[in-house]
């Protein structure tokens, strides 16, 4: 088997931590209901892991901005679903944790 490479003193270069997908940790994950989302950005402000950004999508009449979650690093804390004023974020349990 190939040897595991570890660095002296656990030293790492900038941005190497991106390789560690902390999104694995969560038991739940947020789902954005795009038709409810007004693009207010409250969830973006409150997300403790900087895992939500607003992206442009095509709405019924014109383009609008909605929340998009980065599931690689979202730990599923649920803060976004609590602060959302428009019922646009619901928490789901990950498949592997369903009974």
């Amino acid at each position: 088997m190939e040897k595991l490479r570890i660095t002296l003193g656990a030293v790492s270069k900038p941005l190497e931590s991106l390789k560690i997908k902390t999104g694995d940790w969560g038991a739940e994950y947020p789902v954005i209901i795009e038709e409810n989302c007004k693009g207010c950005g409250d969830c973006v402000v409150y997300c403790p892991d900087l895992c939500i950004e607003l992206v442009e999508v095509n709405g019924e009449e014109k383009k609008k901005k909605v929340a998009k979650v980065n599931y690689d690093y979202c730990k599923g804390c649920g803060t976004c679903s609590v602060v959302c004023r428009h019922d646009a974020i619901k928490m789901e349990i990950k498949e592997i944790y369903r009974g």
Partner: protein, 391 residues
């Protein structure tokens, strides 16, 4: 140059000759005058380009040195007792980050109750951190140890912090004749620190980064293996020092008259001088007693000790600290070292919190073991009869 100096100065002067880049400390009795002496040298401009930083606490001092060492600086601090255990979180990190910070520990007891006097409880409290520990007998030895400590810690096969432990008061405050080293001899012996990795503002790194269960174990095994590798490096450095300085302090241990001894007596730190004298006296009286000075405590010289006590039936370990709920720390390691041999281990605990350890006490303690009047195990000597009452 032979001079009568105090232990503080013997350390400070030697540290100066090692040309550290960053020194950071917080004063604590009985270490204070070590860093006061260094601060004075710094103020006098004797430390070259060295940065001397006064920290707000020992936690701060150790943290500053972690940062400094990560940038490739040769780093030094001194502390003891509460200061050392306040540093402990940072020190475990320094070991894991493989930063060769060198420290002098002016061994002092731990609270509670508050005591400023000497025993070995402080350094024992962080024996598992991954920091090399060695204990000195006198102020010449501590003076000689500082350049050796930098050389051992900074060896690329090792890269671990190192503590040189000297007994508080008994050595720090004592005036002794010390043959002060010359800059030439230290320069010849100790090359400048060549860091295998260092961070700069242009090349930033994270030291001791986060490790998941997928890699943590390998990082910890690497620290363990570095400590194992240090055994050989330490011995080589001890030997090289003997050649270059003409003073041979021995290896990990120094065994005297153990070959034919029925009873081998061990001690560490400033107690060594007294115990050695008592053992000599007992040999003069025809008793088959040997003496072992333990110099390196981490890594523990198990093989050397097992070999030295091979012909003995009894071993006496003079202990200067406790491990609550088990045998005293040195005894635990000695027992592990000789577990296959039929040897009884006697562990008199003496001199906690600066309690005097007189000649008579050491002699009678050893005699009791020789005469079969003592029971193997951990017991106190020089302890008063006491009764614990509610205020």
């Amino acid at each position: 140059m032979m001079k009568v100096v105090r232990g503080f100065y013997a350390v400070a002067y030697s540290v100066k000759l090692c040309k550290p880049d960053v020194i950071c400390a917080y004063p604590i009795t009985p270490q204070s005058e070590i860093v006061e002496n260094i601060a004075q040298m710094y103020a006098n401009g004797e430390l070259g380009n060295c940065e001397y930083i006064t920290a707000e606490s020992e936690f701060g001092a150790a943290s500053i040195l972690v940062g400094a060492s990560a940038t490739g600086a040769r780093t030094y601090t001194a502390t003891c007792s509460q200061g050392l255990i306040l540093m402990s979180e940072v020190l475990w990190n320094a070991a894991g980050m493989r930063l060769p910070i060198v420290m002098t520990i002016a061994n002092r007891s731990l609270s509670a109750p508050l005591s400023i006097w000497n025993d070995h409880q402080d350094s024992m409290a962080i024996r598992d951190a991954g920091i090399i520990q060695m204990y000195v007998e006198n102020n010449q030895e501590v003076h000689d140890m500082m350049p050796q400590a930098f050389k051992i810690a900074e060896n690329h096969k090792v890269m671990l912090p190192m503590m040189v432990c000297m007994d508080g008061y008994k050595l720090t405050h004592a005036y002794e004749p010390v043959d002060l080293l010359s800059q030439e001899i230290v320069d010849e012996f100790l090359p400048p620190y060549d860091p295998p990795v260092k961070m700069t503002t242009k090349e930033p790194y994270t030291f001791g980064s986060y490790a998941t269960p997928a890699t943590y174990m390998e990082f910890r095994a690497a620290v363990y293996n570095a400590m194992e590798r240090s055994r050989k490096v330490i011995e080589e450095v001890y030997k090289e020092w003997a050649e270059i300085s003409g003073r041979n302090w021995g290896g990990h241990i120094v065994a005297e008259n153990c070959e034919d001894a029925d009873v081998c007596v061990m001690a560490m730190g400033s107690l060594v001088g007294l115990v050695r004298e008592v053992v000599k006296e007992l040999r003069g009286e025809g008793k088959k007693v040997g003496f072992i000075k333990i110099r390196t405590f981490r890594p523990f010289p198990a093989e050397e000790i097992a070999k030295a006590v091979d012909n003995a039936q009894k071993v006496v370990v003079f202990e200067r600290s406790l491990s609550m709920g088990s045998d005293a720390p040195v005894t635990l390691d000695v027992k592990a070292a000789i577990h296959k041999k039929a040897i009884d281990v006697y562990s008199p605990v003496v001199g906690l919190g600066g309690r005097d350890v007189p000649h008579k006490l050491v002699k009678s303690t050893i005699e009791e073991v020789i005469e079969g009047k003592a029971k193997p195990g951990t017991y106190f000597k020089g302890l008063k009869d006491y009764e614990e009452v509610v205020v």
